[in-house]
Amino acid sequence: MKILVGIKRVVDYNVRIRVRPDGSGVDTDGVKMSINPFDEIALEEALRIKEAGNAEEVILVSIGGEACQQQLRTGLAMGADRAIQVQADSHIQPLTAARALLKVVEKEEPGLVILGKQAIDDDNNQTGQMLAALWNRPQATFASKLQLDGDKATVTREVDGGLETIEIDLPAVVTTDLRLNQPRFVKLPDIMKAKRKPLDTISLEELGVSPENDIKIGQHEPPPQRSRGIMVEDAAQLLKELRNRGLI
């Protein structure tokens, strides 16, 4: 089967985030960009499935401007077979992303779509679920373990209450959580090999998708600063204060 992996170009998780003084957004001028960490985990999982002999092809998709080709090349260097860049000029919201991915899915007919659970810029955590809904197929979100078994899969999910296990029929959408795997490093010679792997570009319009019902993004501000609170004298006062606040 084919596995489709979606990756997003995001501000690297090490970058110290700063809101622009005019509130128009976050300062991304000259900052380091990387593959969304959850997407790297998604790709790693796909590669392991292929290496285990359960998939013949791992295809990458990224929706964005030309710059996201950099991340696609890194993904190809990790071991993906080919890449598709869906050219989109402006910031795409999850529903549009899901619709675009659906078009790719309809063309490629993968047995599995693996996405990161959320992008560390928008923190929306929606695209995988939306794709599954539009595709009318199962979703297994926050996966920490994925076991394939013919045309089914057993997925262990990290939920608030502990670990939940579900069984899904393929094809399906899986979104990754942090503990699913640890992505491999790229071997230097593979960077050279990746330059020769296919990378195709198709525009959002050519896919027949255009943004609809987009949420309007307004002003940005830094998080509220915590400041010094009250000081208490001893354990008794502390407990009194905590009880008053309903915390114990």
Partner: protein, 545 residues
Amino acid sequence: MPDREIPAREVIQYDVVIVGAGPAGLACAIRLKQLKPELTVAVIEKSSEIGAHILSGAVIEPGPLDELLPGWRDKPPPICVAADKDELWFLSKTGARRLPTPPQMHNKGNFIVSLGALCAWLAPQAEVLEVDIFPGYAAAEIRYGEDGGVKGVIIGDMGVDKEGNPKDSYVEGIEIHAAITVLAEGCRGHLTKRLIQKFKLNADSQPQTYGIGMKELWRVESGKCRPGLVQHTIGWPLDSAVYGGSFMYHLDKDRVAVGFVAGLDYADPEFRPFEAFQQFKHHPKFRDLFEGGEILSSGARAIVEGGYQALPKTEMPGAILIGDAAGILNVPKIKGTHQAIRSGMLAAEHLAQNSAHNLQSAGFDAKLRASPVMSELRKVRNIRPGFYKGLWRGLVTAAIETVTLGKLPRTLPLHADDTAYGLLGEYESPDRGWLERELPPRDRLASVYFAATEHDEDQPVHLHILEPDVCTSRCTEEYGNPCTRFCPAAVYEMVEDQGDDGRGRHLQINAANCVHCKTCDIKDPYQIIDWVTPEGGAGPNYQNL
């Protein structure tokens, strides 16, 4: 340090492999391709992104850049402000007196840049010429040929855990073999250090000496920044026995690059360079510049100061040294970038004389010594050592050497930094008049936050203590563990375990904080700290420094 036996790995071959994507390395790569496009050239860089480990003032002289890339002024790097006004200040605890600007500090025609951003701007220009640049890969060891010469480099393994065992993500480092390996690691490069020892490249040179440079990029309150203003200070908060001073370079968009240099030949074992930097910002004349501002980025890097007297032989079989790996920074100008670019271009021109199957390192050293790189160093060779006798004698020597253009028939000797210490208890720390301070960052840990340094904590510690017993015995008695004070990132801590199963008093190494400045490798009094590369991609993520 003996050479380890390293079994052979996958090999890729280039004509030239350059270690380090700083200004020297990139200039060398670009020049090589300009002169001989058929040569295959690779540049490997341990930082995850070009520029992420680069930190410098910096006011650069554009001459060599004009030679390398004639059209660069039409498409300059993102941070590039023409230097417009120079000021040199002498500070006392409460006062500031303007001094006449010495000739080396006249910056008309020069540019204030972020060296990191400049390297990030140079890299794609090298790639266009088909240089293969590989950020995120650390050259961990040298591969020697059967003849004992340098055959190439060995990339460090990645995905190794604390005990040295492979993790899930393990990838074995490959070897890159080349006819010539160009070491462009910058100040106190770890491979360069080994090569100098192995090939006795410093047999005829004086000991190399260094400084520590610490820098913060600030966004100051509107109206306070004067783009193009270049300021330097000497005096307070240092006492006259410590060489150094501050810089403030005013950029655009309300940004000011502020930094502090302290010579690492200081004798006071209790001296704290980071604290000196923070004190400086509180001087009554300059404090207001920082009030109400915010720190965007910060970091530190050792600076090579030995210059003319300390320059080692820069060639050996199969390899050459360029840039500050060799040590060509001009201390009185506080500029090394133009020298780095020059040396990189010179190296390229030397190599390009021959064809790919006949690349030679031999002859490079002579060319370097006959070039403007060396004559520039020669001219100022006595200035830095003049300060060994203190600030005032140093200023007098500097004045004389400047006026006589360095032509006096004398060359002052250098002394090593690690042997400069006075003993704890014997050396009297002067009262430097330091104050209570309130400006950020509150301490080294807070400063490290802005360096965005990152190391997977589950990897071997990259700071090797060759004789760990010394730390809790001799070093404590003799010098009071100065590593806990000179490291700008609070990597070293002496801690006390209370439990019975605890280790009692011991040295704790917070390797994850390391910003790769190399100060510990230089200034540890017993020379038992050996800095090696951590996993490729680890380390600081400097932005615009």
